[in-house]
């Protein structure tokens, strides 16, 4: 199974942000999508998940061959997609545990037994070194930046998607939180999940090693390669890539 983005053009409020993006992420693979601020990374993440503020004007989003370009976000989620949000919304009055149970049940015919749910939740909470009280708190209400990201990874672990997109999950985390979040993602990696890690920095890639690296500039993917591309970026920075691309275009 794979997520395929074909020639994707996306507009927000009359301005085109993505100008024809192609990308394929298969189960079992870990990809990194890197780019400076404003390059269109978050637009891609939101469009993959079907955020109604973003308008696809051309191209397709396919999951396992099925066209999801026009599908509602909940259909995409039930089809196996997941987005760890850069800025997760606050859901007052709904505890982390209740929210998770609702999300788990949304993709099942029969609701999960309370006992079974409790057992899985406890496992994941331990894996992510999350305080037990945490799951009784209202989702993201009064959470620190690190807690919000952990709540996202907890959802990832509970929902076990086929393809997960992690939008800047590393931003705003101190080194301990980054390690815990990375351990969580690593524990999820394997033949059953494909991951697209969207990041500005190479820092998270020290913990979660991608097999494929894509670099996005100005709404296009401009370079692709293996992990060595991330190392190059670390050493030389986005300006260097930008110059290379400009030189390539000129030639």
């Amino acid at each position: 199974m794979s997520l395929e983005i074909q020639n994707l053009h996306v507009r927000i409020e009359e301005r085109e942000i993505l100008h024809g993006v192609n990308l394929k992420v298969s189960k079992g693979e870990t990809h990194a999508l890197m780019g400076p601020n404003g390059s269109g990374k978050s637009t891609l993440a939101n469009t993959i998940m079907g955020n109604p503020n973003y308008e696809v004007t051309e191209g397709k989003i396919l999951l396992d061959g099925e066209d999801l370009t026009e599908a509602a976000p909940d259909e995409r989620a039930r089809a196996g997609l997941f987005l760890a949000f850069q800025y997760p919304a606050t859901i007052p009055g709904v505890s982390v545990a209740n929210f998770l149970r609702m999300a788990v049940n949304a993709r099942r015919e029969e609701p999960i037994k309370v006992k079974d749910f409790g057992k899985v939740l406890r496992e994941k909470v331990e894996m992510l070194k999350i305080d037990k009280e945490f799951v009784s708190r209202y989702l993201n209400e009064g959470f620190s930046g690190g807690e919000k990201k952990r709540a996202e990874i907890l959802q990832l672990a509970m929902l076990k998607p086929d393809i997960a997109v992690l939008d800047e999950t590393d931003s705003g985390l101190d080194i301990d939180a980054l390690r815990i979040v990375s351990d969580g993602v690593n524990a999820m990696r394997g033949p059953d999940m494909g991951a697209l890690i969207i990041t500005h920095y190479t820092r998270i890639l020290d913990y979660v090693k991608p097999e494929f690296v894509h670099i996005m500039l100005d709404g296009r993917i401009v370079q692709e390669g293996g992990p060595e591309l991330a190392d190059k970026l670390e050493d030389q920075g986005y300006d260097f890539i930008r110059e290379e691309v400009a030189a390539g275009n000129a030639a």
Partner: protein, 429 residues
């Protein structure tokens, strides 16, 4: 024969009732509450015999909760008056006000209408002049009542005029929980509930008070005044819940009357169809070193109208008062209209008083977030509205009533699901 002091009250009230015109309440902007479609001449104070079984609606809404006492009034008649025998031994009184006037005359006379007046409009006068049945609760000094004391006013036939009066006196350092339900069955036609409620929490008392109003889809007009007075170092947590009524006009006042008195005032309303709700609450601080914490949340569907006005009033000499009031209102349909207005009158210095109000709609980002987890738009909307009210439901601190409130809100949201989902979707699109 009713005592002469009560006859005097009723006579003065009757004069006021005959003098006062049928009121229309207007405020700046679009707001008018009018009683155009209420014909007082067609209404009567219907009498009923007490029966073995309570009416089904009353049984269902009370549920299986163990109670300390119960008074049920149907139309103009008390159809149930019961108190846990162990509480009688401790001197607790739960009965109709009519009965209390006879059996506990001195106590009733001392407190009756202390904070209420027949001079507050036609319907305050009507209730003072014509009330029958009613309810009386007295928890003596130092007595603690664990189980809730339940009062129910039921209207189940068109043409009913129900004039209600509840008097509750909670003695020094006493503790109790009181629930007053106003319930209506879904009949065709018009009815009136003119209610008066007064509660006095004596020094050091701790009281949990809840009002639960759901008149259902019948044309019940509810015009009521409820007033709570809190004496020195006493605490009252008051949660009025409005879940249904054709036309509701209520004045709800909570008074911290003596030093060190403290209150928490938490309200909820949900209007649907063509319901009209007009609430005016006052947090009145009459002494120094008092504290208040008020939160009111509402939601509107259908063509309904809801206005909440919340006033903090700190009188001269009430220094060192700390209080705040927040009000939120959520519009869930295109055609619903409402407003939520907090205001402040401070007549002294050295106090902290703040207020805030919001009127808004559901946040599309929250809906997208939930949908990204596989939850349908309809369920996301329902969950967000339920979550919005959860803060208030938690403050009930009463599992039985909380379950009832959650169930009713869920039912109302389900009934309005299509219009709500469409409305939120249109806003987004």
């Amino acid at each position: 024969m009713p005592p002469s002091w009560l006859e005097d009250f009723r006579k003065a009230a009757l004069e006021a009732y005959e003098r006062e015109p049928l009121p229309t309440w207007r405020r700046s902007g679009f707001w008018t509450t009018s009683l155009r479609d209420l014909d007082l001449d067609t209404l009567e104070a219907r009498r009923y015999e007490a029966e073995e079984e309570l009416p089904e609606l009353v049984r269902d809404d009370i549920g299986d909760d163990a109670l300390g006492g119960l008074v049920v009034q149907r139309g103009a008649s008390t159809i149930r008056s019961w108190i846990e025998p162990a509480l009688v031994e401790q001197g607790v009184i739960v009965c109709s006000l009519e009965e209390a006037v006879e059996s506990h005359e001195e106590l009733v006379r001392e407190w009756y209408m202390r904070r209420l007046s027949h001079d507050e409009g036609k319907f305050a006068a009507a209730s003072a002049a014509f009330w029958t049945g009613g309810a009386f609760v007295h928890v003596p000094k130092n007595v603690r009542v664990e189980q809730p004391i339940q009062i129910v006013y039921l209207i189940d036939e068109p043409g009913t005029a129900q004039y209600a009066h509840t008097l509750a006196l909670i003695g020094e350092n006493a503790e109790c929980s009181i629930r007053e339900y106003c319930l209506g069955t879904p009949f065709e036609g018009s009815a009136l509930h003119a209610g008066a409620f007064e509660l006095y929490a004596r020094p050091g008392a701790r009281v949990k008070l809840a009002h639960f109003q759901d008149w259902g889809p019948a044309q019940v007009h509810d015009i009521s005044t409820k007033r709570v007075e809190i004496a020195r170092d006493a605490f009252v947590s008051w949660v009025p819940i409005h879940l249904g009524g054709h036309l509701t006009k209520q004045t709800l006042d909570i008074v911290t009357a003596e030093q060190g008195s403290d209150m928490r005032h938490t309200g909820l309303y949900f209007t649907e169809r063509s319901e009209h709700l007009d609430l005016f609450t006052t947090d009145r601080h009459e002494a120094g070193h008092t504290h208040g914490d008020t939160v009111w949340k509402g939601a509107l569907t259908g063509d309904s109208r809801a206005s909440y006005e919340g006033l903090i009033h700190i009188v001269p000499d009430a220094q060192e008062t700390h209080t705040y009031l927040q009000t939120h209102q959520m519009l869930l349909s295109q055609r619903a209209k409402g407003d939520a207005i907090p205001s402040l009158i401070v007549e002294t210095d050295n106090v902290s008083a703040s207020h805030g109000g919001t009127v808004g709609e559901l946040d599309e980002e929250q809906i997208f977030y939930m949908m990204a987890r596989g939850i349908s738009r309809a369920e996301a909307v329902r969950t967000l509205v339920e979550g919005y009210f959860e803060e208030v439901v938690q403050r009930l601190d009463d599992d039985g009533l909380a379950t009832l409130v959650r169930r009713r809100i869920a039912e109302k949201l389900l009934a309005a699901e299509d219009q709500v989902t469409e409305f939120i979707g249109e806003r987004a699109g």
